[in-house]
């Protein structure tokens, strides 16, 4: 019993980790007043770069870093369009969602001899107990042997929470998302803060994507990222635009994905058609949004481009 619970927890964490990275990315961007619909695209490019660099370098951490960087660079496109040129943030984000997968596919065909998927990464992200778990006969340790990305994302969440609520930077970031005109009159550089927030948002989304290809699976295909970005976005709203709330929401959605695996197994007692099961995370996202979003308030200036002097 304990073992199956532990197994459920670790599968939940495994699926939740990419969502959590992306969700934290959404939190920081939206707290600075920029809606980031493009998380999905940033995750996709991060997932591809993570797998590709992980494959060529043989080192998953290089891959992980490359995933973050590529997400951040793609986020800068969103930043230029929506902050400097005041494009509609939803439309700019949708464009990012086309560019991300398109670019990933293009690069994949270039680098992997015309193939739409990368070769498997030889060394994925190590687990917390590493080779010790493989040797150990203790089933508990085997079940709890989660990837290093899980503790990393929890550390990221803690850092983000501390920065947002306990430091002067956080006060400024949140003031820009709530009332940029107030921040501007106090000499805070609104555009700079938004740029930094969107870049960091892209980096975190890229980490999320790389987590998918380096810790959950070990290669990239076109369907590696299929809606995780949007689920993360829903988690941000569900989590009331706060890091801790978003983490909890991601855990719930991760659990839904874990259920797909746990209940979908052939040795399961109840047989549910797998196509119905795979709907679960998406249905849960919809239901939670319908039920809880009413009670949730976004940062006041979220999604509104800031124009000086208006």
């Amino acid at each position: 019993m304990l073992i199956s619970i532990l197994l459920a927890v670790s599968i939940t964490l495994m699926y939740a980790a990419p969502l959590m990275f992306a969700g934290l990315g959404g939190v920081i961007s939206e707290n600075a007043g920029v809606v980031n619909i493009g998380i999905e695209g940033m995750m996709t490019i991060g997932a591809f770069c993570g797998a590709a660099v992980g494959y060529f370098s043989g080192n998953p951490w290089w891959g992980f870093a490359a995933g973050g960087l590529s997400g951040g660079l793609l986020a800068l496109v969103h930043a230029v369009a929506s902050i400097s040129f005041r494009a509609d943030q939803t439309i700019s984000g949708v464009a990012i969602n086309f560019i991300g997968p398109g670019l990933a596919l293009f690069l994949s065909r270039k680098l992997f001899a015309g193939s739409a998927m990368t070769k498997p990464v030889e060394h994925p992200i190590p687990t917390i107990f590493g080779s010790y778990a493989a040797k150990s006969s203790n089933l508990l340790i085997k079940a709890a042997n989660i990837e290093m990305t899980v503790p990393i994302v929890f550390i990221c969440a803690l850092v983000l929470w501390f920065v947002l609520y306990k430091t002067s930077w956080g006060l400024r970031i949140r003031s820009v998302g709530e009332n940029p005109a107030a921040a501007d009159t106090l000499g805070i550089n609104v555009y700079k803060i938004k740029y930094v927030a969107v870049f960091v948002s892209g980096v975190l989304s890229g980490f999320g994507g790389a987590t998918m290809t380096l810790a959950v699976m070990n290669y990239f295909t076109q369907s590696t990222i299929s809606g995780q970005g949007f689920i993360a976005l829903a988690a941000v709203i569900f989590g009331k635009w706060k890091p801790h709330g978003t983490m909890a929401a991601c855990l719930l959605f991760g659990f839904a994905q874990a259920l797909v695996v746990l209940l979908g197994g052939s040795n399961s007692k109840i047989q549910i058609p797998s196509s119905l099961l795979s709907m679960l995370p998406y249905v849960l996202t919809l239901v939670s949004l319908v039920l809880f979003v009413r009670h949730s308030t976004a940062p006041k200036a979220d999604g509104i481009p800031y124009v000086k002097g208006h």
């Binding site: 306990k166 430091t167 002067s168 930077w169 006060l171 400024r172 949140r174 003031s175 709530e178 009332n179 005109a181 107030a182 921040a183 501007d184 009159t185 106090l186 000499g187 805070i188 006041k300 000086k308 002097g309």
Partner: protein
Amino acid sequence: MKNQQADAVEMQSIYKYFDNFCALNAVNLKVRRGSIHALLGENGAGKTTLMNILYGLYRPDGGKILINGEPVEMKNPNVAIEHKIGMVHQHFKLVENFTVVQNIILGQEVVKAGCVLDLARARKQVMDLSKTYGLAVDPDAKIEDISVGMQQRVEILKALYRGVEILILDEPTAVLTPQEINELVNIMHNLTEDGKTIIIITHKLKEIKKSSEYCTIIRRGKYIDTVVVKSVSEQQLASMMVGREVSLVVAKAKADPGDIIFRIDNLTVEDNRKIERVKELSLYVKRGEIVGIAGIDGNGQKELVEAITCLTKVKAGKISINGAELQNTSPHYVVENGIATIHEDRQKRGLVLDFPVKYNLILENYNKPQFAGRSILKEPAIHQFAEDSIRRYDIRPEDCASEPARALSGGNQQKVIIARELSENPELLLAFQPTRGLDVGAIEFIHSALIKHRDSGHSILLISFELDEIMNVSDRICVLYDGRIVAEFLQGEVDENEIGLLMAGGERKNGI
């Protein structure tokens, strides 16, 4: 060393263009250190633009700025802050879900270890300042939970926290009760006693007389004059501001009310968050009478108007005109029964901004036979009607019938609404903030239109946050506080201090 003799602020022949529009045309301003200096002008005269230039929010297209005798290039607010200039904007620039302390320190946070907020120390600094100048605030309350008066004190503290020597107040009294205004004047004097310089932007003459030593008048972007306030009358200031003689007191005959035509009985209305905003409110309006409802914004005025016009559902109670019940019917039914409405936000509810003026003039009557036969609009009749209305209500420019309403100034937009609403000779005109944001000339016009309508035997329910307007125009005054009518007076029975006290929730001294 600073030159002690120099003026705190000197702005020399400042120019500012917005596209081709010249907002400021060689405007001068000299403010003596330690004085309270008023900047007077109508809406759109350029007062706020001039101050935004002084604060570095806009770059001037010409002219020089000297602070304490030294030329300064105001590139951005940071430069202004460096020169110890602070500005309290008309619409407060506060972060609503931050606490008072967080708002005050934002941008110049008290930190330890480089970036970690030290809120305990920040709180102490804020409270010290608050005590020194008599600016009472609750440091831990969130902005969204405190009164407008306290929000203003937070704004002033924000400036003092940054060590300002020159404080600009943009229309500081627009949202305050008479008591809060007196309190503000006291605070301003405390500040000047401490050597600080205050520039106050306003179009209210009474407050200039009450608070300021000097006054600079600007009209349509041009410098008119700087006067010593003591040596001029309110009437003289008004004429300089508008450029012609204006009457400050509304001329009207005594009311001769007839039967009751409109009544509200025990009305209760909830807002969209299910909070009761109007609570068992009752009132009546007689034929040939102007009833004014005095009250501070947010005491149920919006919900009351929406209930009467059927834009929102009524929870309980009755609204009736000439015996016909109106609650929970439709806006169309309300109009059909002879109620016309001037809404608070003319751009949002009063006009379709992109429609030409002539269509805006028939928005409520478009389906009447004179304007439409079998669903086809009769363009010539509509145009003729528009031309007549434009002439009768002096809407400018005269040839605006086919121009979009957006192109008109605020005062003329309001005239379009009044022309439309009065065109059917409504039994009751519901006027909600009819002169909001208008200048003295337009206010004069609208007030006389209201009184003319009354004199022709109709009724008016006037709801306004401007106490002066209520006191001048109404025949009977009801005071609204927290969704209830807490007192009722006939005109001349009461002074504005007593009403101000009631508006703020104070007890009535003597009953009627």
